[in-house]
């Protein structure tokens, strides 16, 4: 099950105190697949970071369900991510020295003891599901871009989080890999009821979303 998102009067400022993001209101229901588009430098990644509690809001609120990220300490936000958020980045960010399974079950290293097993099993199942089951114990250093990104998806979903945030997940993939990834992502989110927020430049991605919003100069445009 996913979580509903409700943003109101959100402002994020840069280190130079320049406003980067200003969103009056954005609400999406639980399990919604939201696409975000916009020109480079518009503030898309910043929004995603704010949704993960990584870019602190200077004002406004970000509610995931009943949880207001803007009221939480850094440690509490880390805990929220650990429990509720999966993240995928444009350039995978895997540990080259580790196997696919070790990468996918990374969270088990710091999860509470009662969740470790579940995460490891979830990671293995997810790799299987993404067609990498046979390569689970191979070092990711030898993986192709598409395979790496699928390991990153497995890592993001291993703990079965209600929220999945992805920042340009197909940007460094070729068309075929990108299409396959979009299918996987959309299908998995639909199957688990995950609330999915994807930043993307890819029209093929928008087609699989329930809703697409644009961001220009830090402001929301439909």
């Amino acid at each position: 099950m996913g979580l509903p998102l409700a943003i109101s009067d959100l402002q994020v400022h840069g280190d130079d105190r320049r406003p980067i993001l200003r969103i009056e209101a954005l609400e999406i229901p639980s399990g919604c697949r939201l696409g975000i588009r916009g020109p480079s430098g518009a503030g898309k990644s910043t929004l995603l970071m704010a949704l993960a509690g990584l870019a602190p809001a200077s004002s406004g609120t970000i509610f995931w369900g009943d949880t207001d990220l803007s009221q939480m300490s850094e440690a509490e936000r880390a805990r929220f991510r650990r429990r509720h958020v999966g993240m995928i980045f444009q350039d995978f960010l895997l540990f080259e020295e580790l196997t696919a399974l070790a990468n996918a079950s990374l969270a088990a290293a710091y999860a509470d003891a009662d969740r470790r097993k579940q995460i490891r099993e979830g990671a293995a199942a997810m790799l299987d599901h993404l067609g990498l089951g046979a390569h689970a114990s191979r070092s990711v250093a030898s993986f192709s871009g598409g395979e790496r990104q699928r390991v990153a998806i497995a890592r993001a979903l291993a703990a079965d989080p209600p929220v999945l945030l992805a920042d340009e997940p197909t940007a460094s993939l070729d068309r075929a890999s990108a299409d396959r990834l979009i299918d996987d992502l959309a299908a998995l989110a639909a199957q688990k009821g995950t609330t999915l927020v994807v930043v993307s430049h890819d029209p093929a991605m928008y087609a699989r979303m329930d809703r697409v919003v644009g961001i220009v100069d830090g402001r929301l445009v439909e």
Partner: protein, 443 residues
């Protein structure tokens, strides 16, 4: 409070030496262990640490090597000094008290106990007689140096001294006639071999001076771990005789060997080894024979003075080893900071995924701890191996048995080093936590 302190003091003093050493070791390691437990509790950071070590394996190997060399230096220094000290003390253990003509105690010690060639003045028959007939003296063995056979010094003494030095012989029997000799355990001769000694030692030796005055080997002493293992012991009368001196005995008794000697026919001896009836008597004899014409000294005490000098040298070298260790520590910590920076993106990733700050801290600190731990362990091995090699060389060169061993002081040193560097490694670990997650993700 005072009572508590007193109780603790009493308790500490009441502990056995080993318990104290263990307690010290634990106390030295405790801060680092507590940090380690506090940092890693409930987490499994070792996979990440392994990845980090593997990623920078060559740099890490260099760090480990640096730590190992600096730790090895410290360990080797302490172990070597102790080995030399114990080896030389053991070699001198049988020499309770030596009486010689006045001069340098250290020179006499080197000559009488460690068999280094010297030209010592002699003490004459009357003095010897007084020593030999003293109530508290059990053994008064003259030691006459000057001859050699190949590399082995030939020393004139009494059968009583042979027995004192070796106890039961390893082979054969003590000498009982002029032409007989007992050899040290490592002399390259066999029972029944005959040889003619040279006058003097080494290159300056005169090989023909004693032609016609040969010896036959009749016994071999047990190994003593001292230069005496290379010595050949012969009746002192024979040494006097080949040098054209009196025989030590009245006319008509020239063929006698061993005490009593006749003071009137006693040619003199550079040193007398004295064994007293009891320990206390040594001190009485020491003061009694410290006169204008004689010098009495305890080889053990002179050695102890040399050892304290050796200790001072070690201390000075320890300071240098410590400085090396400090420099290495500073270098390695700087390296850790840099490596951690290189790893900043992965650390930021973990935090972005929701890893607690303490987990990231545990990864960085654990990484440092493992490098330091491995480096120190290898360092102890290197130090010990170096000590073994050096000890073997020293033993081969001097015949003083130098044993390489590892003991508490080395472990305390290493524990102190490990603890200190692990505490210092908190700095890069904290520094890693203060880095901005989003900015590091973007790099």
């Amino acid at each position: 409070m005072m009572q508590m302190a007193e109780f603790m003091q009493d308790y500490w003093v009441g502990l056995s030496a080993t318990s104290q050493d263990i307690a010290r070791l634990v106390a030295l390691l405790l801060p680092a262990m507590l940090v380690g437990i506090a940092a890693t509790r409930r987490y499994r950071p070792f996979g990440m640490i392994g990845a980090m070590i593997w990623r920078f394996r060559w740099t890490n190997a260099l760090f480990v090597a640096l730590i190992a060399v600096s730790v090895g230096l410290g360990v080797g220094l302490i172990a070597q000094e102790r080995g030399l000290r114990q080896g030389s003390a053991h070699a001198a253990a049988k020499f309770d008290l030596i009486v010689s003509a006045p001069g340098s105690e250290i020179e006499m010690l080197l000559a009488a106990v460690f068999l280094q060639p010297t030209d010592a003045p002699l003490i004459e028959g009357e003095t010897y007689d007084r020593i030999a007939h003293h109530d508290n003296v059990v053994l008064a063995a003259p030691l006459a140096y000057g001859d050699s056979y190949r590399a082995a010094p030939v020393i004139g003494t009494t059968a009583g001294f042979v027995e004192h030095l070796s106890g039961t012989l390893a082979q054969g029997r003590p000498f009982s006639a002029h032409g007989e000799a007992v050899i040290g355990a490592r002399v390259d001769l066999k029972l029944g071999d005959s040889f003619v000694p040279a006058h003097g030692h080494g290159d300056g030796a005169d090989h023909d001076a004693h032609a016609g005055h040969g010896y036959t080997v009749v016994g071999r002493m047990a190994r003593s771990g001292s230069p005496w293992d290379r010595a050949i012991l012969v009746p002192v009368e024979a040494v006097w005789e080949v040098h054209g001196l009196a025989s030590g005995h009245a006319p008509g008794h020239e063929e006698d060997i061993g005490p009593p000697f006749d003071p009137a026919y006693f040619p003199g001896t550079p040193a007398v080894l004295v064994r007293a009836t009891a320990l206390w008597a040594n001190y009485a004899l020491h003061s009694e024979f410290t006169t204008e014409r004689t010098m009495a000294f305890f080889p053990g005490a002179v050695l102890a003075r040399l050892h304290s000098l050796l200790g001072d040298v070690r201390q000075a070298m320890s300071v240098m080893a410590m400085l090396t260790q400090l420099l290495v520590t500073a270098g390695v910590l700087t390296g850790l900071v840099i490596v951690t920076r290189l790893y900043a993106r992965r650390l930021a990733l973990m935090r972005a995924l929701g890893a607690p700050a303490r987990f990231v801290f545990a990864v960085v600190w654990g990484y440092a701890a493992i490098l330091i731990g491995i480096g120190s362990a290898i360092g102890v091995t290197i130090g010990f191996a170096a000590t073994r090699i050096i000890s073997a060389i020293v033993t081969a060169r001097t015949d003083i048995d130098v044993h390489a061993s590892l003991d508490w002081p080395e472990f305390h040193l290493v524990a102190g080093f490990v603890s200190l560097t692990l505490l210092l490694a908190l700095l890069p670990a904290f520094a890693a936590l203060r880095r901005p997650v989003i900015a590091d993700l973007r790099t």
